[in-house]
Symmetry: C2
Subunit: 584 residues, 2 copies
């Protein structure tokens, strides 16, 4: 019971102290969340109130089911972009069908997440590798920023890809609204400035780090208040948010339209995975700081139920956001109750505050989005990944380019397939070294890197990978080539120290290899076989059919097969020990 | 040049002795190949002469480009079944379109194979794991046998799946031809008997093993001759082969029909892969017996060109057959010239022998197919695979069931996807052991399997797998859980002896883990990092940021972190050395 309802863990011991801290954190997060909710709803092509709805029910549900103490769920930029990309081809923006599809997307991705949680399938998210998710978030950030930039000029531009966005911008450039630009560009500059400079400045003025940080985070609210006042007071001619319906949405199950659900199946799956990867990464970062633990499968369930809650209450897909969770954590939230209090705050805002937002310029929301998403763009990661691994770099670059040029769904899919393909390709070509004895020792090292002694009719080979079907034939090709090239060969000794698993394909290959080598007059021996691998081999006929023997160590094998050379090498003067030979 | 034309290797040194041996082998293989070619063409739903055409040009081409000295290419049972499955949905059997599609299939799969050979993509075939190919061949054999059984009753039955075949048989059963059954069932019994009993009998009568084997292999030819004579002499009323056009096909490029080619793209790819896997496995088995070498990428090119040749000369897809290659090898073939001589034999047969085959009963061909394919069915492999690995068993069973119930293309595709999925799933859950020091030694072993000594504030963990994206988060979850569960923990020592690679995802996870553990007051240390892994880590910032240190051995680490306990354990009386504790 407790496993599925983590609230039972903390609620019975809830203290007055925790209540005070949670309440303070909730107030700060609510202030931050109001403009964000509106902005991300507009980014998804939805009416602004949908963002508010998505910030109420999901927070309460997460407080009941989530295992993270400080995660704040709600609309986030990347998932909002993915929602727009999924729904735009299905219905016209502003139509009831568009809203219905976004709501269905939340419910379907919630069902997927909850299902994965119940079936403990969280590992599926691992197949989005870090270079792929990093490339995807960078590209999404660039796409979002490129889509919002025109808003700073009072232009509304839609497009799925960077070329489309740029073309649409070029078409509309002559219609730029100078008033919007006069408000938008200073707001953008102000937000950038507060993001990087305000906190150090306030601290130099004598404020504590925590208060200074909270004040810096409140900058968007100041921008909202000031620009709304200007827009109202001066009756400025620029796009404003306008009428937001007051009142809370009644829970209602979305209509089940099989056709629609089939069309949003893939987007819902991708939104689920991307949202989950972001959530779990934020939750683990924060939990480790306080030595708390999160349960990844329960997080799936909690996030899934939150999304179902979002859909049922008229919202769109939500996930655990990085920025707002950090604010919640820094503001001192102690339990998920902070999230529930934030939900109350958002509900109050929806009921009471919406008339005050009538004159809020859309350009202000665009500026907050641009500042938020540009912090997601990490082009330096390309360089770091290139330095570390060319294959990972290729996966990352492909993800970025496909996302920018073809779209978000194609981008993340291409990245995942390419990184799995590269992984399989690398598995299929393991590192294999011919080894020889280091004089004066019982150790064996790569003949290409060290001055070692080898025995003419014995080939010692070390394979640095588990043996399974992607690489089974590789070993076979390699050893049969050795057989053809070394006419005097009598023994092959396979060092299995780095072999963590041998699957059926590799077992059959080894069996065939054993027979083929025996046909060619060569015995196959194994050394340093790990316990679990040996347990499994004992369940097959391989060891009884093996033409050679199984030795504990490479040295034992060579002592048995070529005792004179091996002993002489072992007894060689210690002074002449192994030196790296012109390593390649 | 020699790399692409292996004929340049052996032709200049071709001797009179080799000529004699090759010629004898070619005569024997030709006799075996005539009924087989006809039978497999009928199995593919094609006119019988197409089988003859597919046994001429491809053999000559393989002799020029192939690296195996003894492989015999031509029509084989499984690929013929796959051809029928690919072409049947596109055109009516017997129509020109049907033949055209089969020819296009040969050309397209030839182009794919040759392209893979030139790009050295042979490793792609590794992704058909052994359990999948074994299950697929077993299921194909069952499907073929089920399709041919009704022929023994003179009934022609077509169906893509086992249920369809059985339903079609049930419908037609009342039309059974008693004459066909009176010929077919004795022929079947005769062929089964010769296959298992004739060779030992002949040897007991004093014949040499090789001659006895060759005579046993000739049994189908005897069946063909006798039943043709009966059918002609008694004017039997049963389905016969009938008119086969005399003369050789003129080479001609098939029409390029983009629509058709798109439809046969997947079948052509699957036929290429299955054909290549069979070819390479036969070629390697035979090459090893004589310490010869084959080049897998050149084999792709040779098989590809052979298939293009098959298509251009009016034939259907070919591959290296197991049975006929063994006959060729046993008959003493020394060079690929034997294949070229076989082609001449088949051409002569096509020109001269076809009138003699007019009265050949189809039931005789059905019986030869049944006997040939039932030797492919290996249900024992299910049991052996179950014993060795449940995951591999699941992939094999799924391949068999999907092939039998849905079809050959679905079967092989499901098997490949499932085995890759299972592989990724296993990679995502590596074996991780908490280790402790074996008293009296510097060795560390799994605490669950041995009586070992651990230090309260140090967690020693060994991970038995490379670290890459499928399992990166697993390690993180595991270590963060340990952090939450052991409040007194100060150090985590990660033993990397079995880590052959760390990719970017795992590197980032380790970096995050390092910071998260440091936030929780725990230092992360590494031991026994392999050279190539260390080279790569040195190209990142990880080692400079690492909160702990990198030690050469686990013992060094523990001596540095908890010297008293570690030294005391090391100096413990040797008599109290490690005993396995109630191993789990």
């Amino acid at each position: 019971m407790r496993q599925f309802l983590p609230i039972l863990d903390w609620a019975p011991r809830y203290s007055r102290g925790a209540f005070g801290n949670d309440l303070l954190a909730a107030v700060i997060v609510t202030i931050m969340l109001i403009p964000q909710s509106l902005a991300y709803a507009l980014l998804a092509g939805l009416p602004p109130e949908v963002g508010l709805y998505a910030s109420i029910a999901p927070l309460v549900i997460y407080a009941v089911f989530g295992t993270s103490r400080t995660l704040a769920v709600g609309p986030v930029a990347v998932v909002s972009l993915m929602t727009a990309a999924a729904v735009a081809p299905l219905a016209a923006e502003g139509s009831a069908e568009y809203l219905g599809a976004a709501v269905a997307l939340a419910v379907l991705s919630g069902l997927m997440l909850a299902g994965m949680g119940l079936l403990r399938l969280g590992f599926i998210a691992n197949f989005i590798s870090h270079p792929v998710i990093s490339g995807f978030i960078t590209a999404s950030g660039l796409l979002i920023a490129a889509g919002q930039m025109p808003q700073l000029l009072g232009l509304s531009v839609r497009g799925e890809t960077l070329p489309h966005l740029l073309a649409a911008l070029a078409d509309k450039l002559t219609q730029a609204n100078i008033v919007a630009a006069l408000i938008g560009l200073p707001v953008l500059a102000f937000l950038f400035w507060t993001r990087s400079r305000l906190k150090p400045l306030l601290m130099r003025l004598g404020l504590g780090a925590r208060l200074a940080g909270a004040m810096a985070r409140a900058a968007p609210v100041v921008a909202v208040a000031v620009t709304t006042a200007l827009s109202w007071g001066l009756a400025l001619d620029l796009p404003i948010v306008g009428e937001i319906p007051r009142g809370l949405p009644l829970p209602r199950l979305p209509d089940f339209d099989p056709d629609l659900w089939r069309q949003i199946l893939l987007p819902a799956a991708l939104i689920s995975l991307v949202g989950y990867v972001e959530t779990i990464s934020v939750a683990q970062t924060l939990a480790a700081k306080r030595r708390q633990r999160i349960d990844p499968d329960q997080e799936l369930l909690a996030l899934g139920l939150s999304n179902i809650g979002a859909g049922v209450s008229g919202g769109f897909p939500v996930t655990g956001g990085f920025a707002r969770s950090v604010v919640n954590f820094d503001a001192g939230a102690e339990t998920p109750a902070a999230g529930a209090f934030t939900a109350i705050g958002m509900a109050v805002a929806t009921l009471a505050l919406t008339p005050a937002l009538f004159f809020l310029p859309k350009v202000t929301l665009a500026a907050t989005i641009i500042v938020a998403v540009l912090s997601l763009v990490d082009l330096g990661a390309l360089r770091r990944t290139w330095d570390y691994s060319r294959g990972d770099f290729a996966a990352m670059l492909a993800t970025i380019l496909v996302t920018l040029l073809i779209g978000v769904e194609a981008g993340i899919s291409a990245g995942v397939l390419l990184s799995i393909g590269l992984h399989l390709w690398r598995s299929s070509r393991p590192h294999v070294a011919v080894v020889g004895q280091v004089p004066g020792t019982e150790h064996f090292r790569n003949v290409q890197r060290h001055e070692v002694v080898t025995v003419p009719d014995v080939l010692s080979i070390r394979i640095d990978e588990s043996l399974y079907f992607p690489n089974a034939r590789f070993l076979e090709d390699r050893l049969l080539a050795a057989l053809a090239e070394q006419p005097g060969l009598r023994h092959i000794v396979l060092n299995c120290a780095a072999v963590n698993r041998i699957d059926s394909s590799a077992l059959e290959t080894l069996e065939a290899l054993n027979h083929r080598l025996a046909d060619g007059g060569v015995a196959l021996h194994l050394t340093e076989v790990k316990g679990p691998v040996m347990d499994r081999l004992l369940r097959s006929h391989f060891l009884t059919d093996l033409s050679g023997r199984v030795f504990l160590t490479q040295y034992d094998a060579l002592m048995a097969l070529a005792p004179e050379i091996t002993r002489a090498t072992h007894d060689a003067a210690r002074g002449e020990t192994a030196r790296p030979r012109a390593a390649r």
